[in-house]
Assembly symmetry: C2
Homo-oligomer: 137 residues x 2
């Protein structure tokens, strides 16, 4: 009797542990197994020579504020150029916006918050480059 119950406990533990391991591996492996395509929106800015540090800072903050105002922005990051290759063509800022699809971008582009941002940044930029792409690996 004891052996039977002991075996039952062991069997139950093995079953639950196995389920746990399967769940855990599914959770951690999911991003690699099913990388869903997303739409990236890459924006590069080169500021005019007279643009002050405060104006640049205000633009960085304003772009950074868009994800809280436009809910189709799925991810957002940015940074300033640190490439040692000298091929940045004067672009000092890269803003990297992610949408689930074109619909997300098509909400963003004409959105009042985005238009306000464009009004703010427009007079300060000497050059702008925008490339959108669907992610491929």
């Amino acid at each position: 009797m004891r052996r039977t119950i002991g075996a039952a406990i062991l069997s139950a533990l093995v079953a639950v542990t196995t389920m746990s391991l399967i769940n855990s591996s599914q959770t951690s492996a999911q991003p690699k197994e099913a990388p869903r395509k997303v739409l990236r929106h890459v924006v590069l800015f080169k500021f005019k020579e007279g643009t002050s540090k405060e104006q640049v800072k205000a633009i960085e903050m304003a772009f950074g504020g868009l994800p809280s105002k436009i809910d189709t922005i799925r991810d957002f990051e940015w940074g300033t150029d640190v490439s040692p290759e000298g091929k940045s063509k004067g672009f000092t800022h890269c803003f990297f916006v992610t949408f689930a699809d074109e619909k997300g971008r098509d909400v963003y582009l004409p959105h009042a918050a985005h238009k306000d941002f464009v009004k703010l940044v427009g007079p300060q930029v000497e050059d702008v480059c925008v490339v959108d792409y669907w992610t491929q690996k």
Copy 2:
């Protein structure tokens, strides 16, 4: 006796299930809780007018082969421009490479596999833009 053993089984099951849930939540929450800064390497290409589809395809494949040859590439994706804004400055391709840090990039840039790639792509591109940035949110 039966009750005691039954309670022991139940207790063991609860403990293992709880551990499983804790593990699972740690796995899925980790990226949001600790967004580590990484170094992005953004490369835009504009190909010469005479570049054939086959040549472009070969370049896409060759860039896509670098992550398997240079182990400091932490992430890689690419895509072709689909922006409706008309501000791509003729750049049709964006390759987006991620390194953990400058050391990772400094292994990549002079790496034989990267140099071979540069030799392949060099004659076909009319314009190149490279911006590297540390991720900020």
